[in-house]
Symmetry: C2
Subunit: 155 residues, 2 copies
Amino acid sequence: MKLTAIEAEAMRRVADHALDLHADGKDIVFTAAIVKDGTILVQARNEVGATNDVSRHAEVVAMARVADILGTRDLSGCTLLASCQPCEMCLGAMRWAGIDRVVFGAQQEYVDDAFFRFPQLRITDFHRACNGAFAWQGGVEEHRIAHIYAPGAAT
Amino acid sequence: MKLTAIEAEAMRRVADHALDLHADGKDIVFTAAIVKDGTILVQARNEVGATNDVSRHAEVVAMARVADILGTRDLSGCTLLASCQPCEMCLGAMRWAGIDRVVFGAQQEYVDDAFFRFPQLRITDFHRACNGAFAWQGGVEEHRIAHIYAPGAAT
């Protein structure tokens, strides 16, 4: 899948955001953004720690914020961008929001298994299980951020 | 899997709750509860419509509330109960919360495909993909509530 210029710019910012937060030294931080019609509508980070709500992954936070901005939960026409391959929960939320385009940095093959809850299912399995209802591109800006999520990072 | 007495009671209430809301006539309503140590900690309903947040399925709402009550997002030792088989997003959230026991009413085989976003993946696939890290029992109180979620209900 070929990225648009604004998607490529959004992924640079998503990566910058993850690197900035990671440089602060504490947690492993996941970041996300949403693009629509040539505009980056939001950037977000994982807020699970801040809220105690396990659903507050960066992608879900971003989708909730865009729904507020647009006044609808139908986010069709949006692209979801994430620093790390979205987990199974986030892929589900993406599909509930009607998003059919997702771009991410670190790919499952190169990240810690702890960042997935059904690690033996791959994005190809999810793609097949909805008759290919979304398009995706992984590995974007991966060289800059893969070390944040690498095997062993979660322990 | 054999239900405990409190789990069976919680499922009766989850079904009652769904039937009550459905009787009000508007939407298809999904309900959930969480049990721990012989107590029903919360009952919840789908709040997607009220919040525009696609993640606010009844199960996710219930988990967020219990995390608030217990002061931790680690919900290990809890049982998640739902009127309809949890979707892929909710199964993911359940695993992020550390819940390894789930009980539900209407089973995927008998409900509208629209209630799943990767309908060709079944709960057995998710079970296998995490090396059987959770136990489940479907079909509880199903005879009372299956009609709410039956094929065609979503259209």
